[in-house]
């Protein structure tokens, strides 16, 4: 059986996830970190949907909806934190906040 759409979609999801991970680790700006997290969540959603499509089940889309909810909540809380961060440090560079240390 030749590869279906869903197989390629899984590959795309893997690529997007890797890109998101790269962004989270490489960028020092908090806003970019948040963007990268959104990318990773999107990749996971794509993986779920393609799996659901491949298996002919609606559960993949249900999981995507849950991920969507999670992403929305995460974005709102995360952005609130970003605003506070900026107010506290006058910068968005995560490396400037080093107080998580003894």
């Amino acid at each position: 059986m030749s590869p279906q759409f869903s197989d390629y979609a899984l590959v795309v999801a893997a690529v997007l996830f890797a890109l998101g991970l790269f962004g989270v680790l490489a960028r020092r700006n908090v806003v970019y970190v948040l963007i990268s997290v959104e990318v990773m969540l999107n990749a996971a959603g794509l993986a779920f949907i393609s799996a659901g499509s491949k298996l002919g089940q609606p559960d993949g889309q249900v999981m995507f909806i849950f991920i969507l909810t999670l992403a929305a909540a995460e974005a709102s809380v995360g952005l609130a934190l970003v605003i506070q961060f900026y107010r506290a440090y006058k910068t968005l560079d995560t490396d400037s906040a080093r107080e998580l240390k003894d």
Partner: protein, 167 residues
């Protein structure tokens, strides 16, 4: 036709995501992210999930990214910060994460290439999704609603202006 559309959308998603993650200007990055999300939505539609495609456009592109955009504009990141971003994007900083992400990608591709389950594409309409959502996953929906409420409360609480600025 559909096959071409699929691959174009997939390539577009990957490229625009890569740009979104690496652009020094935050507004540009967010615009690339919107492009990536729209092309992902096309992928969803082609994978037989029209409901998810619609949600992707409405919630992601319409709400989350706009929220991010608002924050970026509110913080008013000027050209100075763009220049600063550029200096921060040195190879010495991104080489490690790059290797790590490459390893992850290799592992995932390897996983997909030898372990993908058999099966064809099928279309699951909004009715099927809604039935699944409100029958077996009802508890999950309720928990998700709790999560959203706590997100709202948390955002309100955290976003408030502190009485006295931190030292």
């Amino acid at each position: 036709m559909v096959t071409v559309l699929f691959f174009v959308a997939g390539a577009l998603a990957i490229v625009s995501t890569a740009l979104a993650v690496t652009r020094p200007n935050a507004v540009h990055a967010l615009l690339y992210l919107i492009v990536a999300i729209l092309s992902l939505s096309v992928l969803f539609y082609l994978l037989g999930a029209p409901f998810a495609a619609a949600l992707e456009v409405i919630v992601y592109a319409g709400a989350i990214v706009v929220l991010l955009l608002f924050v970026v504009m509110m913080l008013n990141l000027s050209h100075q910060s763009v220049a600063e971003e550029r200096t921060l994007l040195k190879p010495s900083i991104w080489i490690g994460p790059g290797i790590l992400a490459a390893v992850l990608l290799g592992a995932l591709i390897a996983l997909l290439s030898n372990g993908a389950p058999a099966g064809g594409d099928s279309i699951e309409g909004p009715a099927a999704v809604g039935t699944a959502l409100f029958r077996p996953y009802l508890v999950g929906v309720e928990i998700a609603s709790f999560l959203l409420i706590s997100g709202v409360v948390g955002a309100y609480h955290l976003g408030r202006r502190l009485k006295e600025p931190r030292p």
